[in-house]
């Protein structure tokens, strides 16, 4: 099964510009990508980033144990947008390094708690989280019919130049890419 994420280079640039701004007290910024989904053949789905949603300065909580902690208002606004616009929501933040990023233990624990909450407003969609590095990305996706999240097979930045980060298990993806 293939799970793909696609985003235009211009939208990714907009997210980077926002997420790399300094915050009055938080050590980093977070945001959301609203996305739509398409079915892939032979099996799987593609998540298509549609817009970026910044988290307002006032919607962060003071918490020295993490780089950034969203308050309830940030999540409530994201859930409202999901409800009103019938979109998937993917939390996003940056790890300031080059190369393949991955979620920290804290990232995994926190996202596993709040991402499934989006099913309360849009139960038939996938939701998830994206972590960006300066030149790569990784993403996890929660599907309503599975308890564990899926790791994305590939993360494509669509623009000039094209950039496709393949999952480490590239051989498996290659073998199932166009199979019926």
């Amino acid at each position: 099964m293939r799970v793909a994420f696609k985003i235009t280079r211009s939208l990714l640039g907009r997210a980077f510009d926002d997420l790399r701004r300094s915050h009055p007290f938080a050590a980093e910024r977070v945001g959301f990508f609203s996305c739509r989904v398409g079915a892939l053949k032979p099996s799987g789905w593609v998540v298509l980033a549609h817009d970026f949603h910044s988290v307002a300065d006032d919607d962060y909580l003071r918490d020295r144990t993490v780089g950034a902690m969203m308050g309830p208002a940030a999540i409530r606004k994201a859930m409202q947008f999901t409800l009103s616009n019938e979109v998937c929501m993917f939390h996003v933040h940056i790890h300031e390094h080059r190369g393949q990023p991955w979620f920290s233990g804290t990232d995994l624990r926190e996202t596993a708690q709040f991402v499934p909450d989006f099913w309360h407003v849009r139960p038939h969609l996938v939701h998830g989280a994206v972590v960006l590095s300066l030149d790569s990305a990784a993403a996890l996706c929660w599907h309503p019919q599975y308890s564990k999240p899926f790791r994305f097979s590939d993360f494509s930045v669509v623009g000039t130049p094209m950039s496709v980060t393949r999952s480490p298990n590239e051989r498996e993806i290659r073998e199932t890419k166009f199979l019926r």
């Binding site: 739509r36 593609v46 038939h124 309503p144 019919q145 669509v158 000039t160 890419k177 166009f178």
Partner: protein, 270 residues
């Protein structure tokens, strides 16, 4: 780097891995598409989806790369000719064939990293571009044309890169309502759909260059949108004036936040 690709090492130390992981769809495996399939096979592209409903005929042999007289006699599927060509160059390349109209298999296109459209009609181009934009897939269109002019014929053609978020083929004036409406009228004047191998080859080569720049850029001057015009009478390929006029403008036909994905996606258990 694989010894096979040493002469193209200027494409980058990771270029064979990038191209080997690339998933390319070619819609139309006739005069233009067969050239593209062959060149991408040489380049090291690892995954192909080949779509064409047609079989080889005698009249194709003036331009169909890889096709033989025996293929015409046996009426071999054009996708089979292309997959044979690709795997003759690289036996490890995956070349999946879909023998039918691309609209029957549109869900398969979404998984592509890029789509090459080598189709005959404006309607197909229009629909392919819509599909590609909806699933954020870059689309490269090629086509050639022959018009009767005073004292002979004019051979021309185009290569267009339609990149999601950038100018589309309507913005570039290549697709217009009047052209779509007049589709049924044969717009070539030198017999049914005139095609020649050298013009197809020139256009396909330019299209493959556009693809290669996108995935393994070897210089800094990348273009978000490409509209190349081929003048087959002067053997030149130049950037369209229309594109030069439109550069920097936003596409009104596919706005940045236009509809993406399936209108009604249903989560299935796999």
């Amino acid at each position: 780097m694989n010894e096979r690709y040493e002469r193209q090492s200027f494409l980058g130390s990771q270029s064979d891995r990038i191209l080997g992981g690339c998933a390319v769809t070619i819609v139309g495996l006739g005069g233009g598409g067969s050239h593209i399939a062959q060149q991408l096979g040489h380049l090291g592209v690892g995954n192909f989806l080949l779509i064409d409903p047609d079989r080889v005929e005698e009249s194709n042999l003036n331009r169909l790369i890889g096709a033989t007289a025996e293929d015409a006699a046996r009426r071999t599927q054009k996708t089979l000719v292309a997959s044979r060509l690709i795997n003759g160059i690289d036996p490890l390349a995956r070349a999946e064939r879909l023998d039918g109209k691309w609209q029957e298999f549109h869900q398969f296109l979404r998984g592509s990293d890029i789509i090459f459209g080598c189709v005959d009609t404006y309607r197909d181009r229009y629909e392919l571009e819509i599909t590609a934009r909806r699933y954020l897939v870059p689309y490269i269109d090629i086509g050639m044309n022959v018009h009767e002019i005073e004292g002979g014929f004019s051979v021309s053609g185009q290569v267009i890169l339609s990149m999601p978020g950038c100018l589309c083929m309507r913005c570039l004036g290549f697709l217009r309502d009047d052209l779509l409406a007049r589709e049924e009228e044969n717009y070539g004047a030198a017999g049914g759909r005139p095609q020649v191998v050298w013009a197809n080859g020139a256009l396909a080569s330019a299209a493959v260059a556009v693809f290669t720049q996108l995935f393994t850029p070897w210089h800094a001057a990348h273009a978000d949108c490409v509209y190349l015009e081929y003048d087959g009478n002067n053997q030149s390929v130049t950037t369209s004036n229309r594109l030069l006029q439109m550069r920097g403008r936003q596409c009104p036909h596919f706005p940045q936040r236009s509809d993406l994905g399936d209108p009604f996606w249903i989560p299935e258990k796999f």
